[in-house]
């Protein structure tokens, strides 16, 4: 419950991709905020639009992507979607940094990592290359790479997966960013390394008060790391809430489905898992009405007709589901919802 203006405010983000077969809407009217020092997790299955959303923040999407004009992404009072490329470049890597899923391909294979870290510094700070190297060394130490002095000259292929991701984080931290976007930072790593990296992220967040947008499809990771959770399905946010609330009482059938389909580690295992039936619809052939209707166990007639809005639910979550919508302007208008609505204008 924060009253100050959020660090990042995404309003009605619509990122569309025109293709020869029609327009794909990987992100369709997504709104959320990230407060200072908050870790927000964006979860959802593959193809739900997590990466496109996160890349939209920095306008790094590849190809013929289009942001609809009514979308806005406010960062420190400025709309990133309307900034000139040159001004945006001053924000990238400086105020907002990113780390990606596969640290092998996200690092330039032909440059030593020291240079890659130093580059991030040199791009924004007026320092000598030597000083930049020194800062790089400090950063490597900070992200827990042993024998950092020697590693500065190593090429990415000479590092292990975990170390690469640490190096990637070092690059992201180079200019003390206010927001870190981490797109599946641990998916490519083993669990033991994953827990090291997640620990590191949490520590950094505590130490520097950075906000983190953590993208993942692993609910375990969410539960262990995030403050707040956004559940995404087919380009829309279907549920949003504090991490405790989401896990304690998920409201959307999709969120529920996700929870039960993970085999549990504690206690005796069930004979069969309660899997969500069917598959994610083809983005070009989304069903009318609610996107989840094709897989929803409790779909109603209404669900086939119109898409529900994201609305506040008594549990504290905000849900986009007809099951929980009792007409407009109903009772549950708590402060958070108001805050969000006002922030949207």
């Amino acid at each position: 419950m924060k009253t100050e203006t959020p660090l990042l405010e995404v309003n009605h983000l619509k990122t569309y991709i025109p293709t020869s077969k029609g327009e794909i809407k990987p992100v369709d009217d997504v709104s959320f905020t990230i407060a200072k020092g908050e870790i927000v997790a964006l979860v959802g299955e593959s193809g739900s639009g997590k990466s496109v959303s996160s890349l939209s923040i920095m306008r790094l999407n590849a190809g013929a992507i289009k942001y609809r004009p009514d979308s806005s992404i406010l960062f420190a009072g400025r709309d990133l979607l309307k900034l000139k490329e040159k001004e945006l470049r001053k924000i990238r890597g400086n105020d907002i940094a990113m780390i990606f899923q596969d640290p092998m391909s996200a690092l330039n294979p032909v440059h030593p990592i020291g240079r890659q870290i130093a580059e991030a510094i040199l791009l924004h700070k007026k320092v000598s290359p030597k000083e930049a190297q020194k800062t790089a060394l400090e950063l490597l130490n900070k992200v827990g790479i042993p024998d950092a002095q020697r590693r500065l000259k190593d090429y990415p292929h000479q590092l292990s997966g975990g170390m690469r991701q640490r190096a990637m984080i070092a690059i992201a931290l180079a200019c003390n960013p206010k927001l870190l976007i981490a797109d599946e930072p641990t998916t490519a790593l083993d669990v033991t390394i994953q827990s090291q990296i997640l620990n590191l992220l949490r520590d950094l967040q505590k130490e520097f008060g950075i906000s983190i947008l953590l993208i993942t499809h692993d609910l375990g990771v969410v539960a262990e790391t995030a403050d707040r959770v956004l559940v995404m399905y087919c380009g829309k946010i279907v549920e949003e809430g504090n991490v405790e609330d989401i896990f304690a009482h998920p409201q959307h059938p999709y969120t529920k489905g996700l929870m039960v389909s993970i085999p549990s580690l504690s206690g005796p295992s069930k004979e069969t898992l309660d899997a969500i039936p069917g598959v994610v619809p083809n983005p070009l052939e989304l069903p009318p009405g609610c996107n989840f209707v094709t897989r929803c166990g409790s779909a109603m007639v209404k669900c086939h007709e119109a898409a529900p809005e994201l609305e506040q639910h008594p549990s504290g979550n905000r849900v986009s589901c007809w099951l929980h919508t009792s007409g407009k302007g109903d009772d549950e208008d708590d402060r958070e919802a108001t805050a969000l609505v006002t922030a949207g204008h």
């Binding site: 990238r92 890597g93 400086n94 940094a97 690092l107 330039n108 294979p109 580059e119 791009l123 090429y155």
Partner: protein, 314 residues
């Protein structure tokens, strides 16, 4: 470590040279007709034929001829021309310098031109530069180099009279006249190379620019220029380096045509004459030297590759 790598690569070159010489040698054996009769012409008598045959070692079994030839070649003795009696090594020496200069200029044009067009095409996508580069990348491979040479001569020599239509001046005899003479043949030679490098570098650069580390660079706040030149190019050049090695062979082959049209007394001219005269010691010698050049260039490109790509393990 690096030295060891170079040594290993170098050792790998030896069997390759061996096989190549074997191929070349056996190829020339296929040639029908008797070189001795061709040399002696009108005056061939039985005794003279037998004598010359022995003199040239043609009476020995093929394998002995090869061993003999290879042994001599390794010691720098490529024999004498069947046609002129001149030392082949000597003839090659005089032509080699010319061809090396020509190919070096052709290579320079090809690499510089190819890189220029590929990079501008990527830098200004969908601009006229982009389309021009793409067009050139395709057209360059479609225009036979002799046609290109003819057109250049007609325009720049016969009509405008800016540049000489024939001949060659070595760079040691004056850079100015060297340039004047080499411009047209060098360009004719490089046209296909420019096209090939443009095509390949362009597509490789395009692929590279989609790579995630380029996105990382942008995420750091880098601009387009930096993304292309500092991050994309070195990676994109890797496959091109190999192509450049292969291009060398193509260009050496193309000297046959270009030297013919521009009347440049280089290796191409020498070999085409020798083929016409069935002067097979000269053919062997020239081809051997050309192969050695290609192999050396390939060796060098391997080294360059290893230097460009830190992932290569020495």
């Amino acid at each position: 470590m690096f030295l060891k790598f170079m040594l290993r690569r170098f050792l790998y070159v030896i069997p390759m040279l061996f096989i190549t010489t074997l191929v070349v040698f056996s190829l020339i054996l296929l040639i029908p007709g008797d070189p001795v009769l061709a040399i002696l012409g009108e005056n061939a008598t039985y005794e003279k034929v037998a004598e010359l045959r022995q003199q040239l070692g043609l009476d020995q079994p093929v394998i002995m001829q090869y061993i003999h030839w290879l042994n001599n070649a390794v010691h720098g003795d490529l024999g004498r021309s069947l046609f002129t009696g001149q030392l082949v090594g000597h003839a090659i020496q005089q032509h080699l310098a010319i061809t090396i200069q020509l190919v070096a200029v052709g290579m320079t044009f090809a690499i510089a031109g190819g890189m220029f067009f590929a990079i501008t095409s990527i830098y200004f996508p969908k601009s006229w530069m982009d389309y021009a580069a793409r067009f050139l990348g395709t057209l360059g491979t479609a225009v036979p180099n002799f046609l290109c040479a003819m057109i250049l001569i007609i325009i720049f020599s016969l009509n405008l009279n800016w540049l000489p239509a024939t001949g060659f001046i070595s760079i040691t005899d004056g850079a100015g006249s060297f340039l004047k003479h080499i411009l047209l043949p060098g360009f004719s030679l490089s046209l296909a190379g420019i096209a090939v490098i443009t095509r390949q570098l362009r597509s490789s650069l395009m692929e590279t620019m989609d790579a995630e580390y380029i996105r990382t660079a942008y995420a750091k706040g880098a601009g387009r220029y930096r993304a292309i030149f500092k991050h994309g190019l070195q990676n994109a050049m890797l496959p091109v380096v190999t192509t450049i090695g292969l291009l060398m062979g193509t260009m050496l082959g193309a000297t046959v045509v270009v030297e013919n049209i521009f009347a440049i007394p280089g290796m191409g001219q020498l070999v085409i004459n020798a083929i016409g005269q069935r002067d097979f010691t000269v053919v062997q010698g020239v081809v051997l030297v050309m192969i050695v050049m290609v192999v050396v260039i390939n060796f060098l490109t391997d080294i360059v590759y290893a230097l460009l790509d830190p992932r290569i393990e020495y």
